[in-house]
Point group: C2
Chain length 218, copies 2
DNA sequence: AAAAATAGCGTACATGTGTACACCGAAATA
DNA sequence: TATTTCGGTGTACACATGTACGCTATTTTT
Protein backbone atom coordinates (compact mmCIF):
# COMPACT_ATOMS: atom_id res chain seq x y z
CA UNK A 1 0.00 0.00 0.00
CA UNK A 2 2.29 2.73 -1.27
CA UNK A 3 -0.58 5.14 -1.03
CA UNK A 4 -0.14 6.82 -4.38
CA UNK A 5 -3.78 6.05 -4.87
CA UNK A 6 -5.00 7.21 -1.48
CA UNK A 7 -2.94 10.31 -1.96
CA UNK A 8 -4.61 11.20 -5.20
CA UNK A 9 -7.98 10.57 -3.66
CA UNK A 10 -7.26 12.93 -0.81
CA UNK A 11 -6.20 15.50 -3.36
CA UNK A 12 -9.36 15.47 -5.43
CA UNK A 13 -11.37 15.41 -2.21
CA UNK A 14 -9.72 18.67 -1.37
CA UNK A 15 -10.53 19.94 -4.83
CA UNK A 16 -14.18 19.29 -4.11
CA UNK A 17 -14.00 21.07 -0.78
CA UNK A 18 -12.18 24.01 -2.30
CA UNK A 19 -14.55 24.14 -5.23
CA UNK A 20 -17.48 24.40 -2.84
CA UNK A 21 -15.80 27.03 -0.72
CA UNK A 22 -14.87 28.89 -3.87
CA UNK A 23 -18.45 29.13 -5.03
CA UNK A 24 -19.70 30.62 -1.79
CA UNK A 25 -20.29 34.34 -1.89
CA UNK A 26 -22.64 36.97 -0.63
CA UNK A 27 -25.18 35.89 -3.22
CA UNK A 28 -24.52 32.18 -3.16
CA UNK A 29 -25.19 30.00 -0.16
CA UNK A 30 -24.09 26.43 0.26
CA UNK A 31 -27.62 25.12 0.02
CA UNK A 32 -27.96 26.80 -3.35
CA UNK A 33 -25.00 24.90 -4.75
CA UNK A 34 -25.72 21.83 -6.81
CA UNK A 35 -23.70 18.69 -6.82
CA UNK A 36 -23.09 19.14 -10.51
CA UNK A 37 -21.79 22.64 -10.14
CA UNK A 38 -19.35 21.67 -7.46
CA UNK A 39 -18.16 18.66 -9.39
CA UNK A 40 -17.68 20.72 -12.52
CA UNK A 41 -15.77 23.42 -10.65
CA UNK A 42 -13.54 20.72 -9.24
CA UNK A 43 -12.95 19.40 -12.74
CA UNK A 44 -14.82 16.17 -12.14
CA UNK A 45 -17.67 14.35 -13.79
CA UNK A 46 -20.83 14.71 -11.72
CA UNK A 47 -20.99 11.06 -10.81
CA UNK A 48 -17.43 11.06 -9.53
CA UNK A 49 -18.63 13.19 -6.67
CA UNK A 50 -20.02 10.08 -5.02
CA UNK A 51 -16.57 8.54 -4.68
CA UNK A 52 -15.90 11.12 -1.98
CA UNK A 53 -19.18 12.18 -0.44
CA UNK A 54 -22.48 10.36 -0.40
CA UNK A 55 -24.34 13.61 -0.40
CA UNK A 56 -24.04 17.35 -0.66
CA UNK A 57 -24.96 17.33 3.00
CA UNK A 58 -21.88 15.31 3.82
CA UNK A 59 -19.72 17.82 1.98
CA UNK A 60 -21.48 20.62 3.81
CA UNK A 61 -20.78 19.16 7.21
CA UNK A 62 -17.16 18.79 6.23
CA UNK A 63 -17.12 22.47 5.35
CA UNK A 64 -18.56 23.38 8.71
CA UNK A 65 -15.81 21.39 10.41
CA UNK A 66 -13.30 23.22 8.29
CA UNK A 67 -14.84 26.51 9.32
CA UNK A 68 -14.67 25.54 12.96
CA UNK A 69 -11.00 24.83 12.51
CA UNK A 70 -10.45 28.27 11.06
CA UNK A 71 -12.37 29.72 13.95
CA UNK A 72 -10.14 28.10 16.53
CA UNK A 73 -7.05 29.16 14.68
CA UNK A 74 -8.45 32.67 14.86
CA UNK A 75 -8.74 32.36 18.60
CA UNK A 76 -5.14 31.20 18.90
CA UNK A 77 -4.02 34.17 16.87
CA UNK A 78 -5.94 36.53 19.13
CA UNK A 79 -4.40 34.93 22.21
CA UNK A 80 -0.92 35.45 20.89
CA UNK A 81 -1.60 39.10 20.28
CA UNK A 82 -3.16 39.52 23.68
CA UNK A 83 -0.17 37.98 25.40
CA UNK A 84 1.94 40.66 23.82
CA UNK A 85 -0.06 43.15 25.82
CA UNK A 86 -2.94 45.43 25.02
CA UNK A 87 -6.66 45.67 25.62
CA UNK A 88 -8.22 42.24 25.41
CA UNK A 89 -11.49 43.44 24.01
CA UNK A 90 -9.91 45.76 21.49
CA UNK A 91 -7.52 43.15 20.18
CA UNK A 92 -10.18 40.47 20.03
CA UNK A 93 -12.52 42.60 18.02
CA UNK A 94 -9.81 43.75 15.67
CA UNK A 95 -8.66 40.18 15.14
CA UNK A 96 -12.19 39.05 14.46
CA UNK A 97 -12.77 41.82 11.95
CA UNK A 98 -9.60 40.90 10.12
CA UNK A 99 -10.75 37.31 10.09
CA UNK A 100 -13.99 38.28 8.47
CA UNK A 101 -12.29 40.41 5.90
CA UNK A 102 -10.21 37.50 4.68
CA UNK A 103 -12.61 34.66 5.41
CA UNK A 104 -15.93 36.25 4.64
CA UNK A 105 -17.39 33.28 2.89
CA UNK A 106 -16.48 30.82 5.59
CA UNK A 107 -18.07 33.08 8.14
CA UNK A 108 -21.13 33.40 5.94
CA UNK A 109 -21.37 29.65 5.83
CA UNK A 110 -21.52 29.49 9.62
CA UNK A 111 -24.03 32.30 9.89
CA UNK A 112 -26.33 30.86 7.30
CA UNK A 113 -26.27 27.24 8.25
CA UNK A 114 -26.79 28.13 11.87
CA UNK A 115 -30.34 29.00 11.00
CA UNK A 116 -30.56 26.74 7.98
CA UNK A 117 -32.95 23.98 7.09
CA UNK A 118 -30.89 21.03 8.22
CA UNK A 119 -30.93 20.14 11.86
CA UNK A 120 -27.57 18.40 11.50
CA UNK A 121 -26.05 21.57 10.08
CA UNK A 122 -27.46 23.73 12.80
CA UNK A 123 -26.14 21.36 15.42
CA UNK A 124 -22.69 21.27 13.81
CA UNK A 125 -22.43 25.03 13.66
CA UNK A 126 -23.64 25.43 17.21
CA UNK A 127 -21.08 22.90 18.33
CA UNK A 128 -18.27 24.90 16.76
CA UNK A 129 -19.54 28.12 18.24
CA UNK A 130 -19.86 26.54 21.64
CA UNK A 131 -16.22 25.44 21.53
CA UNK A 132 -15.39 29.03 20.80
CA UNK A 133 -17.56 30.26 23.63
CA UNK A 134 -16.22 27.79 26.15
CA UNK A 135 -12.64 28.77 25.45
CA UNK A 136 -13.53 32.38 26.03
CA UNK A 137 -15.42 31.37 29.16
CA UNK A 138 -12.37 29.60 30.57
CA UNK A 139 -10.27 32.61 29.84
CA UNK A 140 -12.66 35.01 31.54
CA UNK A 141 -13.06 32.79 34.52
CA UNK A 142 -9.41 32.55 35.31
CA UNK A 143 -8.32 35.98 34.16
CA UNK A 144 -11.09 37.80 35.99
CA UNK A 145 -11.84 35.37 38.79
CA UNK A 146 -15.45 35.30 37.80
CA UNK A 147 -18.14 33.03 39.03
CA UNK A 148 -18.58 30.13 36.60
CA UNK A 149 -22.11 31.03 35.63
CA UNK A 150 -21.37 34.70 35.24
CA UNK A 151 -18.34 33.91 33.13
CA UNK A 152 -20.36 31.67 30.88
CA UNK A 153 -23.12 34.20 30.46
CA UNK A 154 -20.62 36.89 29.66
CA UNK A 155 -18.76 34.71 27.17
CA UNK A 156 -21.97 33.68 25.48
CA UNK A 157 -23.22 37.25 25.24
CA UNK A 158 -19.89 38.49 23.97
CA UNK A 159 -19.73 35.87 21.24
CA UNK A 160 -23.27 36.70 20.21
CA UNK A 161 -22.44 40.38 19.96
CA UNK A 162 -19.25 39.78 18.05
CA UNK A 163 -20.87 37.40 15.60
CA UNK A 164 -23.65 39.84 15.00
CA UNK A 165 -21.13 42.57 14.36
CA UNK A 166 -19.36 40.23 12.00
CA UNK A 167 -22.58 39.71 10.15
CA UNK A 168 -23.04 43.46 9.85
CA UNK A 169 -19.47 43.85 8.71
CA UNK A 170 -20.16 41.58 5.75
CA UNK A 171 -22.59 44.09 4.28
CA UNK A 172 -20.71 47.14 5.41
CA UNK A 173 -18.96 49.80 3.40
CA UNK A 174 -15.30 49.50 4.15
CA UNK A 175 -15.23 53.04 5.43
CA UNK A 176 -17.80 52.24 8.11
CA UNK A 177 -15.92 49.24 9.39
CA UNK A 178 -13.87 51.10 11.95
CA UNK A 179 -16.93 52.74 13.46
CA UNK A 180 -18.68 49.40 13.65
CA UNK A 181 -15.70 47.95 15.46
CA UNK A 182 -15.74 50.84 17.92
CA UNK A 183 -19.41 50.35 18.69
CA UNK A 184 -18.83 46.65 19.19
CA UNK A 185 -16.01 47.34 21.59
CA UNK A 186 -18.21 49.61 23.64
CA UNK A 187 -20.94 47.00 23.77
CA UNK A 188 -18.50 44.37 24.94
CA UNK A 189 -17.44 46.75 27.66
CA UNK A 190 -21.01 47.15 28.79
CA UNK A 191 -21.22 43.42 29.15
CA UNK A 192 -17.89 43.08 30.89
CA UNK A 193 -18.66 45.85 33.28
CA UNK A 194 -22.14 44.60 34.02
CA UNK A 195 -20.92 41.06 34.54
CA UNK A 196 -18.24 42.30 36.88
CA UNK A 197 -20.53 44.50 38.93
CA UNK A 198 -23.26 41.94 39.21
CA UNK A 199 -20.84 39.06 39.64
CA UNK A 200 -19.16 40.74 42.56
CA UNK A 201 -22.49 41.55 44.07
CA UNK A 202 -23.38 37.91 43.83
CA UNK A 203 -20.73 36.48 46.07
CA UNK A 204 -20.01 39.53 48.14
CA UNK A 205 -23.00 41.69 48.44
CA UNK A 206 -22.51 45.44 48.82
CA UNK A 207 -18.82 45.54 49.55
CA UNK A 208 -15.93 46.22 47.23
CA UNK A 209 -18.72 47.59 45.12
CA UNK A 210 -17.16 50.30 43.07
CA UNK A 211 -13.59 49.14 43.08
CA UNK A 212 -13.49 49.68 39.35
CA UNK A 213 -13.20 46.56 37.24
CA UNK A 214 -9.68 45.31 36.68
CA UNK A 215 -10.82 43.57 33.59
CA UNK A 216 -11.31 46.32 31.17
CA UNK A 217 -14.41 48.33 30.95
CA UNK A 218 -12.49 51.40 30.09
CA UNK B 1 -65.85 50.31 -10.00
CA UNK B 2 -67.67 48.22 -7.44
CA UNK B 3 -64.45 46.48 -6.71
CA UNK B 4 -65.77 42.95 -6.67
CA UNK B 5 -62.88 42.17 -8.95
CA UNK B 6 -60.23 44.01 -6.95
CA UNK B 7 -61.59 42.37 -3.85
CA UNK B 8 -61.23 38.90 -5.21
CA UNK B 9 -57.75 39.73 -6.35
CA UNK B 10 -56.76 40.87 -2.91
CA UNK B 11 -58.15 37.66 -1.54
CA UNK B 12 -56.15 35.31 -3.71
CA UNK B 13 -53.12 37.46 -3.14
CA UNK B 14 -53.54 36.73 0.53
CA UNK B 15 -53.92 33.07 -0.31
CA UNK B 16 -50.52 33.19 -1.95
CA UNK B 17 -48.96 34.92 1.03
CA UNK B 18 -50.55 32.50 3.45
CA UNK B 19 -49.57 29.55 1.33
CA UNK B 20 -45.95 30.68 1.44
CA UNK B 21 -46.03 31.31 5.17
CA UNK B 22 -47.69 27.96 5.65
CA UNK B 23 -44.91 26.11 3.90
CA UNK B 24 -42.20 27.61 6.04
CA UNK B 25 -40.89 25.35 8.75
CA UNK B 26 -37.71 24.41 10.51
CA UNK B 27 -36.68 22.37 7.49
CA UNK B 28 -38.07 24.58 4.80
CA UNK B 29 -36.77 28.05 4.09
CA UNK B 30 -38.38 30.60 1.85
CA UNK B 31 -35.62 30.34 -0.70
CA UNK B 32 -36.28 26.62 -0.96
CA UNK B 33 -39.89 27.22 -1.96
CA UNK B 34 -40.72 27.07 -5.62
CA UNK B 35 -43.21 29.22 -7.38
CA UNK B 36 -45.12 26.13 -8.41
CA UNK B 37 -45.38 24.79 -4.89
CA UNK B 38 -46.70 28.03 -3.53
CA UNK B 39 -49.19 28.39 -6.35
CA UNK B 40 -50.41 24.84 -5.88
CA UNK B 41 -50.78 25.30 -2.13
CA UNK B 42 -52.82 28.41 -2.81
CA UNK B 43 -54.99 26.47 -5.21
CA UNK B 44 -53.78 28.32 -8.27
CA UNK B 45 -52.31 27.35 -11.59
CA UNK B 46 -48.57 28.09 -11.63
CA UNK B 47 -48.85 30.80 -14.21
CA UNK B 48 -51.54 32.64 -12.27
CA UNK B 49 -48.90 33.49 -9.74
CA UNK B 50 -47.70 36.22 -12.07
CA UNK B 51 -50.95 38.08 -11.82
CA UNK B 52 -49.93 38.99 -8.28
CA UNK B 53 -46.15 38.93 -8.03
CA UNK B 54 -43.59 39.23 -10.77
CA UNK B 55 -41.23 37.03 -8.87
CA UNK B 56 -40.78 34.83 -5.86
CA UNK B 57 -38.53 37.60 -4.60
CA UNK B 58 -41.38 40.05 -4.66
CA UNK B 59 -43.49 37.67 -2.61
CA UNK B 60 -40.58 37.21 -0.23
CA UNK B 61 -40.17 40.91 0.37
CA UNK B 62 -43.87 41.13 1.07
CA UNK B 63 -43.46 38.40 3.66
CA UNK B 64 -40.64 40.30 5.32
CA UNK B 65 -42.86 43.37 5.55
CA UNK B 66 -45.55 41.21 7.07
CA UNK B 67 -43.04 39.88 9.58
CA UNK B 68 -41.95 43.38 10.49
CA UNK B 69 -45.56 44.23 11.15
CA UNK B 70 -45.89 41.29 13.49
CA UNK B 71 -42.71 42.37 15.20
CA UNK B 72 -44.00 45.84 15.91
CA UNK B 73 -47.27 44.47 17.15
CA UNK B 74 -45.20 42.35 19.51
CA UNK B 75 -43.54 45.46 20.82
CA UNK B 76 -46.88 47.13 21.43
CA UNK B 77 -48.03 44.11 23.35
CA UNK B 78 -44.90 44.20 25.50
CA UNK B 79 -45.42 47.88 26.19
CA UNK B 80 -48.93 47.31 27.40
CA UNK B 81 -47.75 44.66 29.80
CA UNK B 82 -44.92 46.82 31.03
CA UNK B 83 -47.25 49.71 31.71
CA UNK B 84 -49.16 47.43 34.01
CA UNK B 85 -46.05 47.23 36.11
CA UNK B 86 -43.28 44.69 36.46
CA UNK B 87 -39.70 44.20 35.44
CA UNK B 88 -39.13 45.60 31.97
CA UNK B 89 -36.52 43.06 31.05
CA UNK B 90 -38.42 40.12 32.40
CA UNK B 91 -41.61 41.05 30.66
CA UNK B 92 -39.89 41.82 27.39
CA UNK B 93 -38.13 38.49 27.30
CA UNK B 94 -41.24 36.59 28.23
CA UNK B 95 -43.25 38.39 25.57
CA UNK B 96 -40.61 37.68 22.99
CA UNK B 97 -40.48 34.02 23.87
CA UNK B 98 -44.23 33.76 23.56
CA UNK B 99 -44.01 35.45 20.21
CA UNK B 100 -41.55 32.88 19.00
CA UNK B 101 -43.60 30.01 20.25
CA UNK B 102 -46.57 31.09 18.20
CA UNK B 103 -44.77 32.73 15.27
CA UNK B 104 -41.75 30.51 14.91
CA UNK B 105 -41.81 30.42 11.16
CA UNK B 106 -42.10 34.15 10.73
CA UNK B 107 -39.16 34.60 13.06
CA UNK B 108 -37.22 31.98 11.14
CA UNK B 109 -37.88 33.92 7.97
CA UNK B 110 -36.29 37.01 9.47
CA UNK B 111 -33.33 35.12 10.87
CA UNK B 112 -32.62 33.32 7.64
CA UNK B 113 -33.10 36.11 5.19
CA UNK B 114 -31.01 38.42 7.30
CA UNK B 115 -27.99 36.44 6.21
CA UNK B 116 -29.49 35.22 2.96
CA UNK B 117 -28.33 35.48 -0.60
CA UNK B 118 -30.35 38.50 -1.64
CA UNK B 119 -29.08 41.92 -0.78
CA UNK B 120 -32.59 43.32 -1.01
CA UNK B 121 -33.83 40.77 1.51
CA UNK B 122 -31.02 41.44 3.90
CA UNK B 123 -31.68 45.16 3.69
CA UNK B 124 -35.40 44.68 4.25
CA UNK B 125 -34.87 42.54 7.32
CA UNK B 126 -32.31 44.90 8.74
CA UNK B 127 -34.70 47.77 8.20
CA UNK B 128 -37.38 46.02 10.23
CA UNK B 129 -34.97 45.15 12.98
CA UNK B 130 -33.68 48.67 13.10
CA UNK B 131 -37.21 50.01 13.62
CA UNK B 132 -37.47 47.62 16.47
CA UNK B 133 -34.14 48.73 17.88
CA UNK B 134 -34.88 52.40 17.54
CA UNK B 135 -38.14 52.09 19.42
CA UNK B 136 -36.33 50.38 22.24
CA UNK B 137 -33.64 53.03 22.09
CA UNK B 138 -36.19 55.80 22.51
CA UNK B 139 -37.68 54.02 25.42
CA UNK B 140 -34.35 53.53 27.16
CA UNK B 141 -33.29 57.07 26.53
CA UNK B 142 -36.30 58.65 28.13
CA UNK B 143 -36.96 56.06 30.80
CA UNK B 144 -33.39 55.92 32.00
CA UNK B 145 -32.13 59.35 31.01
CA UNK B 146 -29.33 57.80 29.10
CA UNK B 147 -26.91 59.45 26.75
CA UNK B 148 -28.13 59.00 23.17
CA UNK B 149 -25.17 56.95 22.05
CA UNK B 150 -25.18 54.77 25.12
CA UNK B 151 -28.89 54.17 24.74
CA UNK B 152 -28.47 53.15 21.14
CA UNK B 153 -25.63 50.81 21.90
CA UNK B 154 -27.58 49.23 24.68
CA UNK B 155 -30.70 48.85 22.57
CA UNK B 156 -28.73 47.36 19.74
CA UNK B 157 -26.92 44.91 21.98
CA UNK B 158 -30.12 43.93 23.74
CA UNK B 159 -31.92 43.23 20.48
CA UNK B 160 -28.99 41.16 19.30
CA UNK B 161 -29.02 39.10 22.48
CA UNK B 162 -32.75 38.60 22.41
CA UNK B 163 -32.79 37.60 18.76
CA UNK B 164 -30.01 35.15 19.35
CA UNK B 165 -31.90 33.68 22.27
CA UNK B 166 -34.93 33.45 20.04
CA UNK B 167 -32.90 31.56 17.52
CA UNK B 168 -31.78 29.14 20.22
CA UNK B 169 -35.33 28.80 21.43
CA UNK B 170 -36.39 27.53 18.02
CA UNK B 171 -34.24 24.42 18.41
CA UNK B 172 -34.79 24.06 22.12
CA UNK B 173 -36.59 21.38 24.05
CA UNK B 174 -39.62 22.94 25.62
CA UNK B 175 -38.37 22.03 29.06
CA UNK B 176 -35.20 24.06 28.57
CA UNK B 177 -37.03 27.15 27.48
CA UNK B 178 -37.47 28.63 30.92
CA UNK B 179 -33.77 28.27 31.69
CA UNK B 180 -32.87 29.89 28.39
CA UNK B 181 -35.14 32.80 29.22
CA UNK B 182 -33.50 33.14 32.62
CA UNK B 183 -30.04 33.24 31.12
CA UNK B 184 -31.16 35.81 28.59
CA UNK B 185 -32.58 37.98 31.33
CA UNK B 186 -29.30 37.89 33.19
CA UNK B 187 -27.39 38.84 30.10
CA UNK B 188 -29.68 41.76 29.46
CA UNK B 189 -29.04 42.87 33.01
CA UNK B 190 -25.32 42.77 32.41
CA UNK B 191 -25.80 45.07 29.50
CA UNK B 192 -28.17 47.40 31.30
CA UNK B 193 -25.94 47.62 34.30
CA UNK B 194 -22.81 48.14 32.25
CA UNK B 195 -24.47 50.78 30.11
CA UNK B 196 -25.66 52.56 33.22
CA UNK B 197 -22.33 52.49 34.99
CA UNK B 198 -20.36 53.52 31.97
CA UNK B 199 -22.97 55.99 30.80
CA UNK B 200 -22.93 57.74 34.13
CA UNK B 201 -19.16 57.77 34.11
CA UNK B 202 -19.28 59.47 30.77
CA UNK B 203 -21.02 62.65 31.73
CA UNK B 204 -20.23 62.70 35.40
CA UNK B 205 -16.99 61.01 36.06
CA UNK B 206 -16.50 59.20 39.39
CA UNK B 207 -19.42 60.58 41.34
CA UNK B 208 -22.78 59.05 42.01
CA UNK B 209 -20.90 55.95 41.06
CA UNK B 210 -22.59 53.10 42.88
CA UNK B 211 -25.96 54.63 43.42
CA UNK B 212 -27.51 51.39 42.24
CA UNK B 213 -29.18 51.54 38.88
CA UNK B 214 -32.79 52.57 38.90
CA UNK B 215 -33.30 50.88 35.64
CA UNK B 216 -33.21 47.31 36.58
CA UNK B 217 -30.08 45.31 36.83
CA UNK B 218 -31.48 43.22 39.58
C1' DA C 1 -75.41 47.13 -25.33
C1' DA C 2 -70.70 46.97 -27.11
C1' DA C 3 -65.91 47.04 -26.13
C1' DA C 4 -61.94 46.64 -23.27
C1' DA C 5 -59.54 44.82 -19.40
C1' DT C 6 -58.05 41.13 -16.64
C1' DA C 7 -57.83 37.02 -13.22
C1' DG C 8 -57.15 32.45 -13.99
C1' DC C 9 -56.27 28.16 -16.81
C1' DG C 10 -53.81 24.62 -19.70
C1' DT C 11 -50.25 23.47 -22.80
C1' DA C 12 -45.63 23.43 -24.01
C1' DC C 13 -40.72 23.89 -23.84
C1' DA C 14 -35.97 24.46 -22.59
C1' DT C 15 -33.06 23.86 -18.78
C1' DG C 16 -30.98 22.03 -14.59
C1' DT C 17 -31.21 18.48 -11.23
C1' DG C 18 -29.80 13.82 -8.66
C1' DT C 19 -28.38 9.47 -9.59
C1' DA C 20 -28.44 4.51 -11.65
C1' DC C 21 -25.60 1.87 -14.65
C1' DA C 22 -21.95 -0.05 -17.36
C1' DC C 23 -17.39 0.66 -18.46
C1' DC C 24 -12.21 1.73 -18.36
C1' DG C 25 -7.50 1.84 -16.80
C1' DA C 26 -4.25 2.07 -13.28
C1' DA C 27 -2.96 0.84 -8.70
C1' DA C 28 -3.09 -2.68 -5.04
C1' DT C 29 -3.07 -7.22 -3.68
C1' DA C 30 -2.36 -12.06 -4.07
C1' DT D 1 2.25 -12.35 -13.03
C1' DA D 2 -2.67 -12.77 -12.50
C1' DT D 3 -6.51 -10.91 -10.08
C1' DT D 4 -8.98 -7.65 -7.64
C1' DT D 5 -10.01 -3.05 -6.22
C1' DC D 6 -11.45 1.41 -7.13
C1' DG D 7 -11.27 6.51 -8.77
C1' DG D 8 -13.06 8.53 -12.70
C1' DT D 9 -15.96 8.80 -17.16
C1' DG D 10 -20.07 9.08 -20.24
C1' DT D 11 -24.71 7.92 -21.17
C1' DA D 12 -29.32 7.93 -19.84
C1' DC D 13 -33.54 8.78 -17.39
C1' DA D 14 -37.21 10.68 -14.67
C1' DC D 15 -38.34 14.72 -12.59
C1' DA D 16 -39.07 19.64 -11.13
C1' DT D 17 -38.46 24.18 -12.33
C1' DG D 18 -39.58 29.06 -14.47
C1' DT D 19 -42.13 31.06 -17.80
C1' DA D 20 -43.94 32.24 -22.75
C1' DC D 21 -48.24 31.96 -25.15
C1' DG D 22 -53.01 31.70 -26.27
C1' DC D 23 -57.65 31.01 -24.52
C1' DT D 24 -61.88 31.76 -21.60
C1' DA D 25 -65.15 33.91 -18.66
C1' DT D 26 -66.36 37.64 -16.12
C1' DT D 27 -66.09 42.24 -14.58
C1' DT D 28 -65.34 46.99 -15.79
C1' DT D 29 -65.52 50.76 -18.76
C1' DT D 30 -67.32 53.21 -22.62
Amino acid sequence: MSGIRALQKEKTRRQLIDAALGQLSSERSFSSLSLREVAKEAGLAPTSFYRHFSDMDELGLTLVDEAGLTLRQLMRQARQRIDKGGSVIQISVRTFMEFIESNGNIFRLLLRERSGTSKAFRAAVNREISYFTLELCDYLQQANKLDAEVAYLQANAAVTIVFSAGSDALDCDKKDLAALAQRTIKQLRFIARGAFEIGVGNKNRSEQRSSSAKDETK
